[in-house]
């Protein structure tokens, strides 16, 4: 069947597509090990890191090179079958959750570092290369790739590009969008486009910036040129304790206001430090209501200057204790606890739901106070870890999916945090993306006319709406329904759950 031009009004309906001839075609195009149709073997692909949302795809295709990616996309395009790209599946917004009538396109086999030029400070890598593998390859040259999501051992650079991933060092060194020079992408129509270049700009519109963070809706990345930067000579991490989360939040704004851009500025409340400490032995102050981790990097003198300046600001801000990492091992331990925050939540609770709103730094205290009140309203615990310097929050709502009603309450809790993020002048997602998870929340952040522009952008790359459908940008119909429901019931239900 043919799919009509993608309309912003409604979600596309692929019910009538007949996959048999497509599967035969894919079988002919791909090596045998690169096409999975067996239900048992499809299971590992049913969700990403947000496992509350699961679906089985029609099949999983695992192309081995760009030519196979082109062939798979062109075949799906001809057949009118949707395609969902997937990197490592560590996403936290169900962005690579399969489409039941579609092909899941895993890019995991495109995992070679093609070229690393230490003089030009760039690496050209295939999309499936893991984030950390790039920095490891650059290490002998005294260089690294700056954005360091906590999932960096596993997540792919293509997934980072699709989400505009950040990390604890992004405050000073920027997000994915600041560290990628060039992309090679394949459109659903099978065209290869180069966005950006190894120069610092390219003619025409800045499609590189537009593409980064586009969540697999505009094209499939096959190759990425990243910028590498020199490793700082030395770094030190300061850990400050606070007896009150609000004071800790205010101290964050004070550090920035005093003219420092720390290499990292993170916050964890007692719930998180208590969860992490038994596993990581980072040496966190467990009596503190919240701790801040502030990093300075550069030359030894520069670091000393910066640490002294931050210490003074934090002391003035009411820190009850301050410790500075004495050596590299201790600095790494301080960060290890931070990077293990999500997995630790999984150890103390059967399930957890990670939120990702961003708010102006000065509102951190307000948000934390509001979350504490919501814990009571929803009868669920929430522990908090933040990229505080960027105002990017990761409240982790603890729940048990096996207890009837808890998931629904968790989602209502999360939705309220997101609404508050927007109300405080922020956004529903700082780095994890909208995916499938936050489609409804998008209706609260954007007006219908703005959504129409997003759909126009989508159509410019994918006129039929076949790439990662029903993700990232809600249809106007969906938002209209949402609005009606908000009016009828006062509270936000999650209608898609019943359909899963």
């Amino acid at each position: 069947m043919t799919v009509r031009e993608h309309s912003p009004e409604r979600d596309p309906d692929f019910q009538g597509t007949s996959p048999e001839s497509l599967l035969a075609e894919l079988r002919a195009l791909l090596p045998p090990a690169s096409l999975v149709t067996d239900e048992e073997l499809l299971r590992p692909y049913e969700c990403d890191g947000l496992s509350a949302y699961r679906r089985l795809p029609l099949a999983v295709a695992l192309p081995e090179d760009e030519a196979q990616v082109v062939a798979v996309l062109a075949a799906c395009h001809r057949a009118g079958i949707p395609v969902v790209p997937r990197g490592a599946g560590t996403g936290l917004s169900a962005g690579s959750m399969p489409h039941p009538q579609g092909i899941l396109l895993s890019l995991a086999k495109l995992n070679r570092i093609l070229h690393l030029d230490p003089l030009a400070r760039v690496a050209v890598v295939q999309t499936g290369v893991r984030n950390l593998a790039i920095s490891e390859a650059a290490l002998p040259h005294g260089l690294y790739y700056a954005p360091d999501p906590s999932s960096q051992i596993a997540c792919t650079i293509g997934g980072n590009v699709a989400e505009n991933a950040g990390g604890v060092h992004c405050l000073k060194y920027g997000l994915t969008v600041h560290n990628v020079l060039r992309l090679r992408i394949v459109t659903i129509e099978g065209d290869i486009l180069e966005l950006g270049s190894q120069a610092l700009d390219a003619p025409g519109l800045d499609l590189l910036a537009l593409f980064i963070g586009s969540e697999g809706l505009l094209g499939v990345v096959t190759e990425v040129t990243v910028r590498l930067i020199p490793r700082p000579r030395t770094a030190q991490c300061l850990m400050a304790s606070f007896d009150d989360v609000r004071k800790a939040g205010e101290a964050v704004a004070a550090v920035i206001a005093a003219g420092s851009i720390p290499a990292g500025l993170e916050m964890m409340d007692r719930g998180v430090t208590a969860a992490v400490e038994p596993f990581v032995h980072a040496g966190y102050d467990l009596d503190a209501a919240a701790i801040l981790l502030c990093e300075a990097d550069g030359t030894a003198q520069e670091v000393a200057e910066e640490i002294a300046r931050m210490r003074a600001v934090l002391e003035r801000g009411g820190a009850t204790g301050i410790r500075v990492s004495r050596d590299e091992a201790e600095r790494i331990r301080f960060w290890a606890g931070r990077k293990a925050a999500f997995p630790s939540a999984g150890r103390i609770s059967p399930d957890y739901y990670c939120m990702d709103g961003t708010i102006p730094r000065k509102r951190l205290g307000d948000m934390l106070t509001a979350i504490a009140a919501m814990e009571v309203t929803y009868g669920l615990r929430c522990i908090n870890v933040f990229h505080a310097g960027d105002g990017n929050l990761h409240p982790l709502i603890l729940y048990d999916a096996n207890v009837a009603g808890q998931l629904e309450r968790t989602e209502a809790f999360g939705a309220e945090i997101l609404r508050l993020s927007v109300a405080l002048g922020g956004t529903i997602t700082g780095e994890h993306g909208v995916g499938f998870e936050k489609l409804d929340a998008m209706c609260g952040q954007f007006l219908p006319d703005e959504l129409k522009v997003f759909h126009g952008i989508k159509r410019a790359f994918d006129p039929q709406g076949l790439l990662n459908p029903v993700k990232a940008i809600p249809s106007l119909h969906r938002c209209a329904e949402m609005g009606r429901m908000r009016v009828h019931q006062g509270n936000l239900p999650f209608p898609e759950l019943e359909r899963l």
Partner: protein, 348 residues
């Protein structure tokens, strides 16, 4: 001018040429359409130093903005050129140009956090916001940077600002072009607080900025001749605004954007290099095809920046599939082709 007045003009559906201060009238494709003057739509909407963000209307002069930021010890680290004219924030955003520190601080687009725009149907749309991290929806505000006004009327922009560096120093080295290129690239790969590096026939100039100790250390490590602070400041401003003698006179000015390691190009004409090798200026009546081929072979592209014979287009033409995406995007924002026709691409 009010939003309502802008909307009325747009809804007439006649080609409009959006104009802020006119400091970049020389830049891009031919000026077409009736002027739409945005300079009166000005003023800082909000500025919170501790949030590192300023939001201002498009017509706000860059001079006013930088003065307000300086009072609070902050600046626009992408150093937008004013070309010694009454440049505005909207014009800077539309042109997307960045100054001498581009290779280390980043480009204008790297600092854009949000934008408000009036599209070709006269609708006011808001994208991005005031926060540092925001991945909700496509990144339209960054797409506007460098769009030369072809997607819509930029009404307002939210821009990330940074603390002014505590200390600065500029060093001069007597080096020929080839050695200078090599040196700039080698140093950029070392943990040195270099924020700009430029070469002309007087030699290599390197700007250091950061903490007191870091700048002092780096001066010791690199050597060279320390340029007096006043001279250094005027040098970098002159480069940014093309007040440097290299840019004087009427000879056509070409801009080559190349990988920083591209070797010296075997082309006629005077050369000035910025951005640690990644931006190279050429003066002279050069053959467009010859230049574009040379730039492409080196991994970059060439723009006829000022003057010269502009009939063959000023920007490097796009490959067909990319051009198609451009046309479709234009249609999504400006279906009646109202804004700045031909300024970015001949058929856009």
């Amino acid at each position: 001018m009010s939003l309502e007045a802008f909307r009325e003009r747009i809804l007439e559906r006649r080609p409009l040429r959006i104009r802020g201060g006119g400091s970049k009238d020389f830049y891009g494709g031919p000026l077409a359409g009736e002027p739409l003057d945005v300079s009166a739509y000005r003023g800082i909407v909000s500025y919170e130093p501790s949030e590192l963000v300023v939001t201002a209307r498009a017509g706000t002069p860059l001079a006013e903005l930088t003065a307000v930021l300086a009072e609070r010890g902050q600046w626009l680290a992408f150093e937008p050129p004013t070309f010694r004219g009454p440049a505005t924030l909207g014009g800077a955003m539309a042109a997307g140009l960045s100054g001498p520190g581009r290779a280390s601080h980043g480009a204008l687009r790297d600092f854009v956090l949000g934008a408000k725009l009036m599209d070709g149907e006269g609708r006011v749309l808001t994208f991005g916001g005031q926060v540092m991290k925001n991945v909700a929806g496509f990144d339209v505000s960054r797409l506007l940077a460098g769009s030369l006004g072809t997607l819509g009327l930029i009404l307002e922009a939210s821009i990330k600002v940074l603390p002014l560096p505590v200390a600065q120093a500029t060093l001069r080295f007597q080096l020929a072009q080839g050695r200078a290129l090599e040196t700039m690239n080698l140093w950029a790969g070392r943990p040195l607080p270099i924020t700009a590096a430029a070469w002309d026939d007087q030699g290599l100039m390197v700007r250091l900025a950061g903490a007191e100790a870091a700048v002092r250390d780096a001066c010791g490590t690199l050597g060279g001749v320390r340029v007096p602070d006043g001279d250094a400041a005027s040098h970098w401003t002159a480069l940014r605004d093309q007040g440097h003698p290299f840019f004087a006179g009427e000879a056509p000015l070409w801009r080559l954007s190349l990988p920083s390691t591209a070797p010296p190009l075997d082309l006629p004409g005077d050369v000035l290099i910025e951005w640690g090798g990644a931006q190279r200026w050429l003066r002279g009546d050069l053959d467009a095809t010859l230049l574009r081929d040379a730039a492409r072979r080196a991994g970059g592209h060439a723009t006829l920046f000022r003057g010269g014979n502009r009939t063959a287009g000023v920007f490097t033409p796009l490959p067909a599939p990319l051009a198609t995406v451009h046309r479709r995007l234009k249609a999504a924002f400006d279906p009646h082709g109202v804004f700045n026709p031909g300024r970015l691409l001949p058929d856009l």
